[in-house]
């Protein structure tokens, strides 16, 4: 069964293209601009744009870490340093990539994280 993945990004061509790419890489991709139930997915991918608030991204990621304890989380942002602390604390569940990132870096980050590691509980 293909792992369920939520792709959270502003609607547009870029999101559609990334959805196709991730589906090709073997994920069952669901797109949205805001995610109400993170626990329903094995992987969460948040794509920030140049106008995204770093504080809002950090808040969102913190809530996902708490709520979706087994999910793999990948964030692409123009402000990666705002997430440095949380990224190092949850390095095996959370990957933060500086934008613009290659789509395959997102896939590699999704496959590299290990949600079963107890240090990420």
């Amino acid at each position: 069964m293909r792992p369920r993945l939520a792709l959270i990004a502003s609607a547009g061509d870029e999101r559609d293209a990334l959805r196709t790419y991730l589906a090709g890489a073997g994920f069952d991709v669901h797109i949205c601009e805001r995610l109400a139930v993170p626990t329903a997915f094995a992987s969460l991918v948040l794509i920030g744009d140049a106008a995204s608030s770093e504080a809002a991204i950090a808040r969102t990621v913190r809530s996902w870490i708490k709520l979706a304890r087994s999910a793999r989380i990948v964030v692409v942002t123009f402000k990666p340093t705002a997430l440095r602390g949380i990224a190092s604390a949850y390095s095996r569940r959370l990957a933060v990539l500086a934008a613009p990132a290659f789509a395959w870096d997102v896939v590699d980050a999704l496959r590299a994280t290990d949600p079963t590691d107890p240090s990420n509980a």
């Binding site: 090709g24 106008a51 123009f78 934008a99 990132a101 789509a103």
Partner: protein, 319 residues
Amino acid sequence: MSRRAAPPSVVLAPTTASPAMRGFDRVLRAVSAKDVTVTFVGESGSGKEVMARRLHDLSSRRSGPFVPINCAAIPEALFESELFGHERGAFTGATERGRGKVESADRGTLFLDEVAEMPMSLQAKLLRFLETHRFMRVGGTEKLEVDVRVVLATLRPLEDEVRVGRFRADLYYRIQGIVLTVPPLRDRRRDIPALIDAFVAQLAAIHDCAPIRLTRSARAALFAYDWPGNVRQLKNAIEFATILRPGKAVRVHDLPPGLVPSSTASANGERFAVDLDQPLANMVDRIIEHVIALEGGSLPHAASRLGVSLRTLQRRRRA
């Protein structure tokens, strides 16, 4: 300085604004559909791994893993274990069974970068693996089979390595079927503006600062330069400017000192200009990059020409 469009957050494919890259991508698409071994030849920093990844993404194996291995970075004693894995107790310190890269790449693509640096003893085992797709872990007795597409990369044509006895002829003939030459950046200058924009945005994000603003003349200088170190060198130049002029205008004289007009920095000649007002470290770096370019991107050959060990050269470039 003109106002530029907001950069994308995610890039799905390498830049193909230039005719050279468009043509290359066309070939890549055709080759990706066939499950054959492919060898990329290209200068240092030209993006061979990016192209290998693109090949994987275009292929029917894209839902499987892409496993890269740099043959120049692994000590000879560990190479076989790294590639084929090992059984428990196979050697001192092997307290558990270890999976090799070949096993990790099952149903995907195994990318062997700088394959010319692979030890001769391992080349025979790689050849056998390419022919049968079967292998044994170090210390093992059982033959294992995997479904892997092997993609290779080399800085220079492998026939030269065969001629001087550093690469097995039988392996060369096995993998020479489809050889794709990645165009150097100087042959695809139309890709430079898009690459600059992507690196400016990405490096500002990494260094937590506002993006630099390149003046028209600075852009022109970056466009005109010959880039012997290719895309990697361009990225380093943007990083240099980002660190020194965060959020500010970057003029020609703010760019790294090595970026002189191509007439003096050309890799075609044996001479090049050195600015005596520059720190010694910068001059040394320029000499190193120039010699690497003269040697077609080959670090071992450049090290030999400079009279230093390969390790010294690699350490200096990383510094």
